[in-house]
């Protein structure tokens, strides 16, 4: 159940940018609180600003106005180096297109965040194995991503996101490239891991039925604005 202390607090966040002579309001004055251990789904049509909001929470982008409080700091005020550390130690990310590095084996892909976090070499194999065990892929350690199915690739991406034991897992359309059955399997896995590890999940999706089944709350966006937040009935993983 959600903790009383928010994992992420968005306070009147805006992200505007100029495209030619047009000022695009990708995210416009959004205030939102994500509690610790909560599973929040960001819903909305294409161009509604949900991915931009996720990038802002990830520290990949900076807001043009407002504050993002996470891990005790305002992300809008952090230096590029501190933002990188935040992404490395607090955040885990998974993407629609998996974004595994094709020339690396599964083991090496999962090890990558440990390299960036400068984790001791001797501790790495155990951490990698543990992360791959969670997604049930230890038998394919030496394979390359192209030798795996879409669902398996996404499971590797989840293992990579978990290997640094993040507090917040951000998922950008994690089922977008998967068939519905595999998509459900992935979301079940996320739900299961959230229950095991107690981490916060913010997931961007445009599939409302799936979101309703797996998330705690649904935040709906449209034209950069937060249109509303609703509670979801917890689905099969509960």
């Amino acid at each position: 159940m959600p903790d009383t202390q928010p994992a992420v607090q968005l306070d009147h966040i805006s992200r505007h940018y100029q495209m030619g002579e047009t000022r695009v309001r990708a995210v416009d004055d959004v205030t939102l609180s994500v509690a610790r251990g909560e599973y929040l789904a960001l819903l909305g049509s294409s161009g509604s600003g949900k991915s931009t909001l996720l990038n802002l929470i990830a520290g990949l982008d900076r807001p043009t106005a407002g504050a993002i409080l996470a891990n005790g700091a305002n992300l809008a005020e952090l230096s590029p180096l501190d933002l990188a550390r935040y992404r490395c130690n607090t955040i885990g990310m998974i993407f629609q297109s998996f974004n595994l590095l094709p020339r690396m084996t599964l083991e090496e892909n999962v090890e990558l965040p440990l390299r960036l976090a400068e984790v001791d070499h001797s501790a790495r194999p155990g951490r990698v194995r543990e992360a791959l065990e969670r997604v049930r892929l230890t038998h394919r350690l030496g394979h390359r991503p192209t030798e795996l199915s879409g669902g398996e690739q996404q499971r590797v991406a989840i293992a990579r996101a978990l290997v640094n034991r993040p507090q917040i897992l951000l998922a950008d359309e994690p089922t977008g490239n998967l068939d519905s059955t595999t998509g459900e399997t992935i979301l079940s896995l996320l739900r299961e891991l959230q229950a095991q590890l107690g981490m916060t999940i913010v997931m961007v999706t445009h599939e409302r039925p799936l979101a309703e089944r797996f998330a705690d709350r649904l935040a709906t966006m449209g034209d950069g604005k937060l249109l509303g937040i609703t509670s979801a009935a917890r689905g099969p993983a509960q």
């Binding site: 990949l60 982008d61 180096l81 550390r85 490395c88 974004n99 020339r103 390299r115 960036l116 976090a117």
Partner: protein, 450 residues
Amino acid sequence: MKPRDLTDLALRNLREAVLRNSLTTLGVAVGVASFVAILSLGVGLQQMAAKRLAQSGLFDTIFVTPKNNFRGMGRPQRELESDKPPRPLDEDARHELERLPNALEVYPQVRFFTEVRFNDKPFGTVVAGLPDSSRNSGAFDGMQGNFFSSTSADEAILQIEFAKDLSKDPPSLLGQNLTLRYAERQAIPATANDASSGAGDSGGGFSVVPKELKLTIVGIVETEPAAGFGGSGNARLLIPLGTASKLRAAQVNDLRDIVRGSTSTKTVYPTLSVRAKSPSQVEALEASIKNLGFNAFSLLDASNSLRTFFKVFDLLLGIFGSLALAVATLGIVNTLVMAILERRREIGVLKALGAADSDVQQLFFLEAGVMGFLGGILGVGFGWLLGRAITFGTNIYLKQQNLNPIELSSVPWWLAVLALVFSVIVSLIAGLYPASRAAKLNPVDALRYE
């Protein structure tokens, strides 16, 4: 990221686009090779010149004269009127010079103008006595015939032009005899009073008696070692120093001694040559000799000028050689900029996973450095091979011209290290722009890139 992880990732990235990176590295190698090859020729020429000069004795020899020797030529009169008489260059002085640290050998300059008879024809020439150490002089490389069999042999080596005067077929002179006619200086006992001898009234003195010595021609040489420097012009007939000393031939300074009234029978040398153990010790040795109260002169200054010349020469060669390397660095810039485009998404992933800008920058920087390092190693090897090939080709040509082979190129260790360091530094500079561009890449844009 830890250096080990950075290096591992950089090498992995280089292996990934192996063909393109190999070609870029090869470009660097060709640049370094041209740099090394051109400089190796400069160094080789310098070493060749230095060796020749060292062998010639020009740069390790100090010419010692008494303080009064060259005075009076336009000097103010007061300088000539010293309270203390100048120190004579006698046997005592010679032994003292021999005891100086760094002095290898001390020998007198025996050099006189005289007449030589060959086939009953007279030829005027300067005769010089050569110390046995001249044997190692570069002047005798490729000589016709042989060096003197001993330091007191009645043998002669002819300078080639003089040999041509004696015969139209100089090699045929080897083994033939010639007669040296000279004026021997003979001491007159103190009791004698022969006004016709020209000696003063101080007692003793010497007379000049014509003498002859038969010499066997054993060799023909291009030029006298040290090109006759320090003496009175180039000698065309060379005899062993021991033989020359035994002759007690009257020399130029004898006449001067007579004029000055100094007619002592004690051996006094007009000039002594002091050879230092190495050219680098000449300066200190020259100062020690001056402290003993003699004039000393060496070609050190000329040697310094020569070294400066070669430094400038090498610098110019280096600039030309590095032009190819400069072109090669454009290849590195191109390869890395292309890599940024190709790996745009990967850079985005790295940043999303927590890579700092500096991690990405260092990664690209390291890739440039590795290409520079590998290119440098290959280039030094290629450059050395190129230098050897040029030397080989040159020696084939020299052989056809009946000339001795030479060592035209040389790659000393410092040149190899310099080329390697230069290659890495230039490559790192080439990597600055791509690395900075990769580091500044917006991760959101990079992740969106297909």
